[in-house]
Every structure is written in structure tokens, then in C-alpha cells.
């Protein structure tokens, strides 16, 4: 960052834009000009500051003051009062407990590796990324490491895929590196579609160069010359920022032909998705990239041997690739000091629902759910009690308050037959009805089923039909058994993970909240469900 007396960070994401972020920025710059402050106060257009539901959010450093629902008029007042006269506008400050302004000891519990630059640097300025050690990993790899050494380092770091499945990244890269066939490709899965999950968006909007660097390293490691970032189409700002980052990286010889003057050449293109959740499934994503209907392929063969255009392909999630530069720069040994022995490193979570501080946090693997909900999330809001937590997104598991000490890492969750999934943590207080929540999960899956294989296409429909009988209390038989039967067959016979994964939310909900379901099955009316049904109708 350029030296300046103060920095004003304006969080610009799609939500903020809708709330008028562009006008706020314009007014801010004009005010600073008029007040003669433009030299000493630096305006930084950054990604989301991790606070949602507050319109345009602006932070002033080094004071660490956050303002919410900022309008052009408000920003003028901030400039005049706070920046010129040094008096924060108390009336407009977000409460001290506002997300990023978590009490210092709570904020400090985060370990920011992937998000280290998010909300701090100007994501549209490569200089700022470089100033914080950006592209050092690439330089190190290209000048001192052979591609197999890079693969080995990632393997030693025991980095596991952050898309949800936790497959060892080192193994995947080695498989692609050793697979016969050329060319090879690197594909970044940025089709973030899991409900309540925005972690990739934060990285793409807040620190796109980190992803670009991770991809170039992946390309070097596996012997690819071309990569593509498949970004969810609705993420227009992400697309713009990544495009801009690519352009800058090319200018700095960090991308394109003969990177940093070496023999290695690698370039990246951006492709927007078209609104299908299933395209987050890697083989559907590849089909979509090939210009076909985004339907999952039957695996095996896996993309590592037959991926894009039938060639060996690395498909990695954004968060996975964003871990790579730090691993290479600081070494696998450093990385393994974070997290657990089998799941090293950190994980980014989206905490949402009935908590005091909803938003994005990054903590080491193995952090307990209790820590996440009660410390980083600030606990259940309005002093209510906790009913349950849906961990891992729509295809995740419902956990009960008794399970709060579960450690959040791949293996600990697997022991509980749960999943880390997308890292979405939906906190539900005692006013929520789990049947109602499950119903919305089922409707989501019905809506997103691609229609290719029978069990998912017709099974999601059957499940919603059955669940709607629970909702209105009109069940005529053992609905719950029938739902489990359908979901079990979907688990066994569906072609891709989408249809296979529905059993988890259903079974965990029944296991933890069985009484509630039985009551619905026996026809007791539930005000939440009736309200939902009316809303959907």
C-alpha cells in the first residue's frame, strides 16, 4: 500500500453496488479533493469487508472504525468530520460488535492465510499484492524448484481440496503430471453455488492475484500451458476483477509466454457459468466449458486422466488454489503447523443464520463448531437458544447442540458421518422448524437437479411431494420411511454427487430432530411450515 495518513476501505461487492457503492466512491473522492485530502488519504476499493446486510460498508484505518449503510451524503460527512477533523461520526458507526470489528481477542482467533489480503489491499492493483509478498512463490518455484518438486511440496503440505471432498491436492497434481496425453489443463472451479456460501467470492473479489498465482503454480507443477477460471455467472464483479488481474499479471510477465523470462509459458482465461448449480460438479463444469449442456459425466474416467477435451486436467476449487502460493513461499513445514495432522491449514467459513456476527471467517482446521458459533459468530442472536446447525451447505448435515464440540476438519466430520462441504455454517435458533428448513433444502435440490439420471430427476420430485405432505400435515402413511427409502436409492444409484448427497441432510435431520418430524407426520400443524407453504404457493 502507498504510504498515507489514513486509508478508507470501501467494500465493493455485488450487494454494495446495488446499494450505491459507485456513487459513494465518487462522492468520497470528490469530497477528499475539495477538502484537500486526496494526497494524504488513500481510498481503497476492496472486496467485501465480511459484513452483509449493511449496504455499503466503509472502514477507516488506522482507526479501525466501520461505517454501515453509507450513502453519498453520509460519506461526505465522514470525510468532513472523521478524516478532516479526526472525529469519528459516532451515530453512523457500526456497533463495536459488527463482524470484522469483532472484539480484538475474537478477531485474533482467526488465522488468515487465504484471506490475508482480503479487505486490506486494493484488489485491482497488482502492486499492492506484490508489496505483500505476492508472486514471490511463483518466482521461487520457477527459479529454484522443478515441477515435480512443486508437486511434492504440495503433497508434503497435505493440502486437501477445499471444494468439499478433501481429496489430497498433491495426489491430484501428481496424477495429472504423470497422466499420458497432452496438452494438460488447469481448471479453477469458481462456480460457487452452494446456498449460503460466499468464500470464493471473497477471494475472487478481494484478492484475485492470489488465485492467479495459485493457478500458474499449478500449471507449472503439472505441465500445463493453459488454464481457465469457470466463474459463477452472477459474480460479475469477480469476473471483472479476475480479468483485470490476468491482464496485469500478463503485463508484469507473471502470465503468458516465458513467465519471468523462463521457458515456462502459461495463460488463463475466464469463462462465466450460466446459472446451473450442477456445474459446480467438476465433470458438469468441464462439459459446460466444452460448450455442451452442463451434465455430469460418469466417473471413472476422472478428469485427472480424461478431463477437458478428454485431456488430463486439474480441477481445483478457488480456496484450494489460493492456499498454494503461501505453501510454496513459506514451505510445507510451516503449513503443517496449522490445523490438524491429517487436515493441515485453515478453512474459510461462511457463518450465517441466527448469529450475532454473520460473515466470513478463516480459522485453522480442527476448530470446534462451538468456537465458530459462539466466539467467531458471537453466539445466537437476541439471546435465544441454539436449536441446531446445518454444516457444509445444502448437502451438509444437521448437527444438534450436543454435537457442538465436533472439530471441523475432514476426518473429524467424517467420523460423525458429516461433511465440511462448502464451509457454510447455518445457525438455527429455537424459533426454527427443521422440517421447514429441510423442505427448502429439498426444493433447492429439485430445482437444481439437472434431469440427466432417473433417480435424481424423479427422486427429488418425489421427495418434495412427500415432504409437502409433512408440511401441511396431510400425510397418509409412513412418509418418513418412504423419504428415507427414496433418498437411500438416490444415494446408491444417482450418477453424480448431487443426487447422492441428499441422504445426508435428510438422515441427520431425522437423527437429531426425529420428534419434530414424527409430530409433522402425525399431522400436527406447524405455523412455520404453513407459512412457508403459503409463501411457495
Amino acid at each position: 500500500m502507498k504510504p498515507a495518513r489514513a486509508h478508507v476501505l470501501v467494500g465493493v461487492d455485488d450487494e454494495a453496488r446495488l446499494a450505491g457503492a459507485d456513487q459513494v466512491l465518487e462522492q468520497l473522492r470528490r469530497a477528499l479533493d475539495e477538502l484537500g485530502l486526496s494526497q494524504e488519504v488513500q481510498v481503497v476499493e476492496t472486496g467485501t469487508l465480511g459484513i452483509s446486510g449493511q449496504g455499503v460498508v466503509v472502514a477507516v484505518y488506522p482507526d479501525g472504525v466501520f461505517y454501515g449503510r453509507v450513502t453519498p451524503e453520509v460519506v461526505r460527512r465522514i470525510a468532513e468530520e472523521h478524516l478532516l477533523k479526526g472525529r469519528p461520526v459516532t451515530a453512523l458507526r457500526l456497533p463495536t460488535a459488527a463482524p470484522v470489528a469483532r472484539p480484538a481477542e475474537v478477531f485474533g482467533r482467526q488465522v488468515r492465510v487465504v484471506l490475508a489480503n482480503c479487505g486490506v489491499i486494493d484488489p485491482e492493483n497488482i502492486e499492492e499484492y506484490l508489496a505483500r509478498g505476492g508472486y514471490e512463490a511463483l518466482e521461487k518455484a520457477l527459479t529454484t524448484m522443478t515441477p515435480p518438486q512443486v508437486v511434492e511440496e504440495i503433497g508434503r503440505a497435505k493440502l486437501r481440496g477445499r471444494g468439499g471432498a478433501g481429496f489430497p491436492t498433491g495426489l491430484k497434481w501428481a496424477a495429472v503430471r504423470n497422466a499420458p496425453g497432452s496438452p494438460k489443463y488447469v481448471v479453477c472451479n469458481a462456480d460457487e453455488g452452494e446456498p449460503g456460501t460466499f468464500k470464493d467470492r471473497l477471494i475472487l473479489e478481494g484478492d484475485p492475484h492470489k488465485l492467479v498465482e495459485g493457478m500458474v503454480l499449478a500449471g507449472y507443477a503439472v505441465g500445463a500451458r493453459w488454464g481457465v477460471v469457470y466463474i459463477r455467472g452472477e459474480y460479475s464483479l469477480c469476473i471483472a476483477r479476475v480479468e483485470k488481474a490476468l491482464e496485469q499479471a500478463r503485463r508484469y510477465s507473471l502470465l503468458g509466454t516465458n513467465i519471468l523470462g523462463t521457458e515456462f509459458s502459461f495463460d488463463v482465461e475466464v469463462r462465466p457459468g450460466a446459472g446451473a448449480y450442477v456445474c459446480g460438479e467438476e465433470t458438469a463444469l468441464l462439459e459446460s466449458l466444452e460448450g455442451k449442456r452442463g451434465w455430469p459425466r460418469i466417473r471413472p474416467p476422472y478428469p485427472v486422466t480424461r478431463g477437458l477435451w478428454g485431456k488430463p486436467t486439474v480441477v481445483n476449487n478457488v480456496e484450494t488454489l489460493a492456499n498454494v502460493p503461501d505453501i510454496i513461499r513459506r514451505g510445507a513445514d510451516w503449513y503443517r503447523t496449522l490445523g490438524t495432522p491429517t487436515s493441515p491449514g485453515t478453512k474459510v467459513y461462511t457463518i450465517l443464520g441466527h448469529v450475532v456476527f454473520p460473515g466470513l471467517v478463516e480459522v485453522p482446521m480442527g476448530t470446534t463448531l462451538r468456537t465458530l458459533v459462539y466466539e467467531l459468530g458471537g453466539g445466537v442472536r437476541d439471546g435465544r437458544s441454539l436449536k441446531g446447525v446445518l454444516v457444509g451447505g445444502a448437502a451438509g448435515a444437521f448437527l444438534t447442540p450436543e454435537e457442538l464440540d465436533t472439530r471441523l476438519d475432514f476426518d473429524s466430520l467424517a467420523e460423525r458421518a458429516a461433511v465440511l462441504g462448502s464451509g457454510a455454517v447455518l445457525v438455527l435458533d429455537d424459533t426454527a422448524c427443521i422440517v421447514d428448513v429441510l423442505y427448502s433444502v429439498l426444493r433447492f435440490f429439485r430445482h437444481e437437479s439437472c434431469g440427466q439420471c432417473v433417480p435424481c430427476r424423479a427422486g427429488t420430485e418425489a421427495l418434495v411431494r412427500l415432504a409437502s405432505q409433512l408440511m401441511v400435515g396431510s400425510s397418509t402413511g409412513p412418509i418418513l420411511d418412504r423419504m428415507v427409502e427414496v433418498a437411500e436409492v438416490m444415494r446408491a444409484t444417482s450418477l453424480c454427487p448431487l443426487g447422492q448427497s441428499l441422504l445426508l441432510p435428510l438422515k441427520s435431520a431425522l437423527a437429531g430432530f426425529g420428534k419434530e418430524f414424527e409430530a409433522h407426520e402425525q399431522g400436527q400443524p406447524c405455523p412455520h411450515c404453513l407459512r412457508s407453504v403459503r409463501a411457495y404457493a
Binding site: 439420471c453 430427476r457 420430485e461 427414496v486
Partner: protein, 895 residues
């Protein structure tokens, strides 16, 4: 031989070639795994999930999983049964339960599985308002689509894309509301659909059915007869489905589903009301119904009189490429043995006579050297003068499959035909310049050292003379003559020559020229020069036009050869027939089609017997043909429909169609196949062989055949290429001639060890300007040819309502540039004038034809009014049908 793997299926060991999928491996040992989305020959999809099996504890789709050494596969277990049952229940939860009135009932696997898996009541049927409600679509001539019965298996989509290469169908929407449809939901006719109906053939349920069969009979009531398609030389196996002596449906084709629109939907002509049912005799200028006895007595008497007064030379006969081998054999036997004339010819004269002549001279055999299936083995294919997709749709499919497998495709044709769009190299020469660019290709291959020296030295002769000739055709000179850029010609030559297995496919664009035989010789030179012959995936492959045009040539319905291509002028060959037929045979080569018409015009021919042919549409320069026919003292026509030719006949004899008689057809790849009687002929119609036998008997030469099988037995004794062929063998064997004795397996690939004539012979041929070249008065070159929806002179397809509706009238294709200059818009009535005649037709303004070229389909009489019967190819007597100078202008307003 492919290496094999062995593994166990339900405890039984199977040994199968590497790459075999579990579903097929199980089938090979009689274990049926339920499935709905898989279809042999189409890429497996693995989406119905019924065929899941257990492999080492995992569930995998057996249609997509390849068997590996040592696997233990379980196809059935209680848990698999439960899974499959629920999957079926889910499919059926949104499937109409109207099996009572569904045409597919009894042949529907979904129905069968529902029964097998005992799905009595469905637990997942939603309320009516949540079901898919989609209207039935019938907005095309042939196909009925009931979307509610669609189970989204995708077979139709894959058949359309992979087999026909059209990509008309796809999935739309998603999840539960996914459906199959066309882009923008257009009716099929408005897409690039060719209505081949392969989607219907592969549909497992009643979602896609033939409109024609609706309520015409349920599966268990239908009798099935295996026969051969009567349209085109592809010779697809065809199954006729019958109820109460009426055809209600046709199916079959190559690999049991590949048929084109004519084969699948064109059979309705069989039951058309216009069929000739009774013999007709012209009395006082009118054709009136008479008895067989009267008709045949009249013909016999008249023929005897004319022979008596003018000699047998005054009688000629036209056989038919649409009739069976047995019909044709008897026809030529009758003409030669009973009448005593050699004036026998048929429409092959106007399609592949130059191939029979040219390939005979170069290789020793005038037919396709390889088979249709074999084309898929090629790695380089040169297609020229063949609008394959329309004229031989099934061959085009084989070419498309080869291309998909990686073969390089070179298309050289003045018209930008369908295959040109998928070709690696497409060249557009000027019409009539074939020898120039063919020699140019040879020039490149020779001078760039791409030729097969060893092959040329060991197996060919006359190379030096050929070499001298081609050296006169460097690509730059060819560019001047043919308009093909020199560099493009070089690329094409390399693509063909450097292919490991190069095949040449051609048709009438090569032959229908005044130098047709030279064109064929120049093509054969290329195969000899590169050694692309005698092996799988290679060869010189003339695509024969009509269903049995190969067979009628084989049967000796040509003026110069006896059955089996034995030269009439060879006394030993003739002697053999004289002994077999116990008569003395004429030894003079007879007249060809065009010459016969001319001789009739000059009253040298007094009587003409025509079997299933319509020269009043199919012969060049129709005004001369008409004159000729009108001068005849006796014109006898045997046909199934009234035609332009029966209108001028003295006697019309009603014949049986392909569906009403037994016999054999020989398709373009020399494969002899059984034609089987399915229904009774209408009225008093009879099979052609019966008519000829009776006539012959009446004329004092008894032909006491009771079944075509006996005729084939006689053919086998006199024609060695058919020596081992019998109806009995054809019941179970696939035989390509030559098949000289009953133990011979037939010869799918000719010239493997040695050429039929011994050595392959190079011929030095040169380019000559066509007889008619564009000038100021006639600035266009008119070419004629086939189109997809009609066949021959439309006597059959014109009576298939749907086909006739698709293309009701003649048209002329002209290039947009020309159209603009002439002020003609698409669909306008235009006047096309040649030195012979002037016709009015609709204009189709299209870039398929280059500027300066016009194209007309020859199925309509307009085309041959314009063509010329002059300037015949000196060797084959082919007319120059592909190259007439014409003038195109907006039609004058009618008075």
C-alpha cells in the same frame, strides 16, 4: 485379433474382447441386465441407472463399465432388485398409464419391467396438476411425438447426432421438467431433420412412433416379414410388420435401426389406390381391362409376327433395376433365348455403365471393391460426384462414422453437398473437368513421391504410358482448367495418398458424362498408384443408384454380356448358355437404352418390352424418346403403377411390388439378399418372373418355374460369380459375390491377392472439353441428380403422401449471385431452356450450387426434357446428363 479379458458374471466365467462392456459381456452368456437408455451402436449414456451391477462391492452402470481381468460382477441380488424396483417406480410415477391403447404396448421394455418388478401401485404419483402435461406433436408427415411418454433416455438424441449426424434433437429444461425437443421447439420439417426416423426406431417407449401405425395393430397381432428395402442401392434390410395382409409399419435397417426416410416411411405406395390391378390392352386408343389370357395371347402373337416379318433384331427389351435378380435373369433369357435378340439394356446404362466398363478395364470387375461397413475402416476418404447424404444415406452415415473416428474426408464436387460441410478439404471444380483434376491429383502424388512404388511394380501394368499422361497435368494447369486452386489440389492429393487406408467413393457425378469411362479410369488410376485397393478401408467404390441395379447388371441385362459378365462375343461363354438353354443365341452385341430409343424413332425397332422402367422420365431428351415410343408397333409395359410410359403403351401388365414376391436383390456392395413376399399382390397383378414365364410358355419355350428359388438355382449353374448362392444359404448367411461354390464364404473385398483381370491396368486418359459448354445464349451448366425424398421417376415416392408433400414439384437450384443478376427470388417460377426444350420450374436459390451452375432433380420429367441424347460416351454409351448448357430466366407471365 483383439486381446481378451476374462472375469466372472454371477459366478460364470466370461471371456470377451478387451473393451467389452459388462452389459454386453453378460448378454453374451445369456444374462439379461435390465436397461432403458442403452442402445447397441450408440454411445452408452449410463443415465437410466437400471443396469447398475455390483462389482467388488461397488455399484457401477454395466452399460458404461468396461470389463477387466478378474472382476467379479453380480447382476442380481435382493438389494439390486430393490434399487431397480424403486428406480422403475420413480420413472413410472410420471408416465401415462395408457398401455391399453399405446401402439408400443407389447414391445415396450418399460412395460415389461413394470410387470417383472411387480409394480402394481405406484407410491410416488403426484397430484394431477404436478404432472408434466405436454401436447402430442404431429406437425410433420411421419413422426408422432408424445412427450409425456418420454423417459428421457436420450437414445433419440444420440441416434440423431451419432448416426445421422444431424443434431436436431436435444434435451431442454432441467430437472423434473427436462424434455426432448428441437431448437426453438420448431416442427421437425423446419429444422435440418431429414425425417429418417432413427429416433423412432431407438425409442424404447411409445414417445416416438410412426404416425401411420396409430391404431393399426398391436405388437402381438403383427406378423413380421424380413425383406430388403426397395429404394436405392444401399440395400438395407427391412422388416415389414403386417396385420390382415396389410403393411402397417416398417423397421430394421443396418444394425436394426439405420434406415432413411424412404425406407422407413415410403412403403405406403404398396397399398396405394393407383396400383395396376388388371391387364390393360389398348383398344380404339383407350387402355381397357382385359383378361390375362387375352393380354398375353395378344403380346405373344404380336411378338411372333414382328419377329417373323422383321427379324428378332426389331425387338428390344428394357429390364428393371427395381426388379429382382430372378425377374431380370428371366427377362434377358426370354429376350435372348425366346426372341433371339441382344437388344437388352436397362437404366444402369444411364448411371454406372462407365463404371462397369472402366473398372472392368482397369481392375476386371465393375462394382464396389469394398463394402459399406468397410468404409468405416478408412482413414482417408475421397468422395466425388456423389451426393451421398441424399442418394445413399446409409453410406453417408458410414462415412460420417469414419470421420468421427478420425478419417480425413476430401470432397470434390461442383455442388456444396452435405458432406462438404464436414469435410477436411472441399474442392469445387468446374463441371466436366474431372479427368483434368484427377490427373492433377495423380501428378501431385507421383511428383511428390507419395505413390506406392512396390504396389505399382508388383501388381500393376502400363505405368509408363500413364506416367507420361499425368505429367501433362501439373496443379497450375489444372487450376486453369478446373478452377481448383493448385495448393488445395496438392493438399487433397496428400490427404488421400498419405492415408493409411484410403477409399474412393463416387457416383454419377463421375459417370454421367460423355467421357464418363475416362473419368472412371482416372479414378481407378489413383487407387492403383497409391495401392489403396484390396485391403479393408480402401478401394474404388461406385455407389449404385437403384435397389437392384447391381443385380440386373450381374444378370446380364446388358447388350454385351451374358449373366455373370460373360462376354456375348466369347463363343465359349455363349456356347455354355446355348447348351444350358438349349437354343442358339445371337452373337452380335445389341443396342443400349439411348440407341434403342433412336432406333425406334427410325423405326428399326418395332417392338419394345419394358419391365418396371419409365423411360418417358428417365431417358435423356424426352421429346425424342416420346417420338421413338410412339413409332413402335408394340409397346408392352409391366409395372406396378400407371406411368408416363404406360400412357403410350399398347399393353400394360400389372406387376407385383417388392412386398408381394420372393427373390433376391443385390445391393451396391455386391451383397445378395433375400426379398420375401409379405402380402398378396392387388387384383390380378403377378410377379414379373411369372408374367415372363407364362409369356414364354405361350411362345413355345416353356418356363415351368414354380418359385424364384428354382430360377436362382439355374443362375448359380450358369454364372460363376453366383455359383455358391442359393435362397437356402441366404436365409442365414451374408454373401457378397463372387461366391463361386456352395462352400465359398463370399468376397466382401475384391482384388485382395490379385486383380480380377490379373494385374491392375493403368490407363492414360486426357481431358477434353465437354460437348456443351456455356455460351452467351446458354450461359449455365445444368447438372441433374437425385434428391433425398424421391426415388427414380417418382412412380413410387410420388404416391407416398408425406414424401410428395415434402417435395411436390420439380425445381432448379441456382446460386444467389446468379439469382440476383437475373432478378429471381427463392420460390419464383423460372423458365429453363436448353437446345432441346424449355420448362417452367420453381427456383431454389441456394449456395449449394456455384455461380453458373444449375441443378435439377431427375425424378421429375422436366430435367430430361432438357438433357441431350447426343454425344454418347464412346465406350459405355452413357449420355452427358451432368453437363447441358441452359439458359435460366424469370418465367413469362402465363397468358
Amino acid at each position: 485379433m483383439k486381446p481378451t479379458v476374462s472375469f466372472t458374471v454371477d459366478g460364470q466365467v466370461v471371456q470377451v474382447p478387451e473393451g467389452t462392456r459388462l452389459l454386453e459381456a453378460a448378454k453374451a452368456i445369456g444374462i439379461e441386465i435390465p436397461h432403458l437408455c442403452n442402445y447397441p451402436e450408440l454411445t452408452p449414456a449410463g443415465i437410466c441407472r437400471l443396469c447398475l451391477v455390483e462389482v467388488d462391492g461397488r455399484l457401477v452402470p454395466s452399460c458404461t463399465t468396461v470389463g477387466e481381468e478378474g472382476l467379479q460382477v453380480r447382476t442380481n441380488s435382493d438389494s439390486l432388485y430393490r434399487l431397480r424396483r424403486l428406480v422403475l417406480e420413480l420413472i413410472l410415477s410420471d408416465h401415462p398409464q395408457d398401455c391399453l391403447t399405446c401402439d408400443k404396448a407389447g414391445a415396450c421394455p418399460l412395460q415389461r419391467y413394470a410387470y417383472e418388478y411387480k409394480i402394481e401401485r405406484n407410491r410416488f404419483v403426484g397430484p394431477d396438476h404436478e404432472r408434466r402435461h405436454l401436447p402430442v406433436r404431429e406437425d410433420n408427415p411421419f413422426i408422432r411425438y408424445e412427450p409425456e411418454k418420454c423417459i428421457l433416455c436420450g437414445r433419440c438424441i444420440r441416434a440423431c447426432a451419432e448416426s445421422q449426424g444431424r443434431h436436431v434433437l436435444n434435451f431442454y429444461g432441467r430437472g423434473f421438467h427436462t424434455s426432448v425437443g428441437t431448437a426453438l421447439d420448431l416442427p421437425l420439417e423446419q429444422t435440418n431433420c431429414e425425417l429418417c426416423g432413427q429416433c423412432v426406431a431407438v425409442c424404447p417407449t411409445g414417445a416416438l412412433t410412426e404416425k401411420e401405425r396409430r391404431f393399426k395393430g398391436q405388437e402381438w397381432e403383427l406378423k413380421k416379414v424380413e425383406t430388403v428395402c426397395p429404394f436405392c442401392g444401399c440395400g438395407c434390410p427391412l422388416t415389414l410388420h403386417l396385420k390382415n395382409d396389410r403393411i402397417v409399419r416398417a423397421s430394421g435397417g443396418w444394425k436394426r435401426f439405420r434406415l432413411c426416410v424412404k425406407g422407413r416411411f415410403g412403403w405406403t405406395f404398396v397399398h396405394h389406390r393407383d396400383r395396376l390391378k388388371y391387364p390393360l390392352l389398348r383398344k380404339n386408343g383407350e387402355l381397357v381391362r382385359v383378361s390375362w389370357d387375352e393380354a398375353l395371347a395378344f403380346v405373344a402373337k404380336k411378338l411372333l409376327e414382328i419377329r417373323e416379318s422383321c427379324g428378332p433384331e426389331a425387338i428390344a427389351g428394357l429390364a428393371s433395376a427395381k426388379c429382382t435378380n430372378e425377374d431380370n435373369y428371366l427377362f434377358q433369357k426370354f429376350m435372348r433365348a425366346v426372341i433371339g435378340t441382344s437388344h437388352i439394356d436397362h437404366c444402369a446404362r444411364l448411371c454406372h455403365a462407365p463404371s462397369v466398363a472402366g473398372l472392368g478395364m482397369a481392375l476386371g470387375s465393375g462394382a464396389m471393391t469394398n463394402t459399406i461397413d468397410d468404409l468405416e475402416e478408412a482413414t482417408g476418404i475421397l468422395v466425388t460426384g456423389s451426393n451421398t447424404s441424399e442418394a445413399h444415406p446409409i453410406v453417408a452415415q458410414a462415412i460420417l462414422r469414419a470421420v468421427r473416428k478420425g478419417a480425413k474426408l476430401v470432397v470434390i464436387d461442383p455442388r456444396r453437398i452435405e458432406l462438404a460441410h464436414v469435410a477436411d478439404i472441399y474442392l469445387q471444380p468446374r463441371t466436366g473437368t474431372d479427368v483434368a483434376w484427377l490427373n492433377g491429383l495423380a501428378h501431385v502424388i507421383y511428383t511428390e513421391g507419395l505413390w506406392n512404388k512396390k504396389f505399382v511394380e508388383e501388381r500393376c501394368e502400363n505405368f509408363q504410358e500413364f506416367r507420361q499422361a499425368i505429367l501433362e497435368y501439373p496443379p497450375e494447369r489444372v487450376e486453369e482448367i478446373a478452377g481448383i486452386p493448385a495448393e488445395e489440389l496438392r493438399r487433397a492429393a496428400r490427404a488421400y495418398a498419405q492415408a493409411e487406408r484410403g477409399a474412393i467413393v463416387y457416383s454419377m457425378g463421375i459417370t454421367q458424362h460423355a467421357f464418363g469411362t475416362n473419368n472412371v479410369l482416372a479414378l481407378a488410376n489413383l487407387a492403383l498408384l497409391t495401392g489403396h485397393i484390396g485391403r479393408p478401408g480402401t478401394g474404388v467404390n461406385p455407389l449404385r443408384g437403384q435397389n437392384n441395379v447391381q443385380g440386373s447388371c450381374d444378370m446380364g441385362c446388358l447388350p454385351n454380356v451374358l449373366p455373370g459378365y460373360q462376354p456375348l462375343t466369347d463363343s465359349a461363354a455363349r456356347g455354355k448358355f446355348e447348351r444350358a438353354w438349349s437354343v442358339e443365341l445371337p452373337d452380335k452385341v445389341g443396342l443400349t437404352v439411348v440407341e434403342m430409343m433412336e432406333a425406334a424413332r427410325q423405326r428399326k425397332i418395332k417392338a419394345l418390352l419394358i419391365m418396371g422402367e419409365n423411360p418417358m422420365v428417365s431417358s435423356p431428351e424426352l421429346c425424342r424418346v416420346k417420338e421413338g415410343l410412339e413409332h413402335l408397333e408394340l409397346l408392352v409395359v409391366m409395372d406396378i403403377f400407371p406411368t408416363e410410359t404406360t400412357e403410350v403403351a399398347h399393353v400394360v401388365l400389372p406387376a407385383a411390388s417388392f412386398a408381394e414376391k420372393d427373390g433376391t436383390f443385390t445391393n451396391t456392395e455386391r451383397r445378395v439378399q433375400r426379398v420375401r413376399k409379405a402380402v398378396e399382390p392387388p387384383g390380378e397383378a403377378k410377379a414379373d418372373w411369372e408374367i415372363i414365364s407364362e409369356l414364354s410358355t405361350r411362345m413355345g419355350y416353356p418356363m415351368p418355374y414354380t418359385h424364384p428359388e428354382e430360377i436362382m438355382r439355374e443362375i448359380a449353374t450358369v454364372a460363376s460369380i453366383y455359383g455358391g448362392i442359393s435362397h437356402a444359404r441366404l436365409e442365414k448367411e451374408k454373401l457378397h459375390w463372387p461366391c463361386p461354390h456352395p462352400d465359398h464364404p463370399g468376397t466382401p473385398i475384391l482384388h485382395a491377392e490379385r486383380f480380377t483381370r490379373g494385374k491392375g491396368k493403368f490407363h492414360a486418359v486426357h481431358y477434353y472439353e465437354p460437348a456443351e459448354v456455356p455460351d452467351r445464349e446458354y450461359p449455365f451448366i445444368l447438372t441433374t441428380g437425385r434428391m433425398l425424398y424421391h426415388y427414380h421417376t417418382r412412380s413410387m415416392t410420388g404416391r407416398v403422401e408425406g414424401l410428395q408433400a415434402l417435395v411436390p414439384e420439380a425445381y432448379v437450384e441456382i446460386n444467389p449471385q446468379d439469382a440476383q443478376k437475373l432478378g429471381i427470388s427463392d420460390g419464383d417460377l423460372v423458365q429453363v431452356t436448353s437446345r432441346r426444350a424449355s420448362v417452367k420450374v420453381r427456383a431454389w436459390v441456394t449456395e449449394r450450387v456455384p455461380p453458373g451452375t444449375a441443378f435439377m432433380p431427375f425424378h421429375f420429367p422436366e430435367a430430361n426434357r432438357l438433357t441431350s441424347a447426343q454425344n454418347l460416351d464412346p465406350l459405355s454409351k452413357m449420355a452427358s446428363l451432368k453437363c447441358s448448357a441452359v439458359r435460366v430466366e424469370p418465367a413469362p407471365p402465363s397468358p
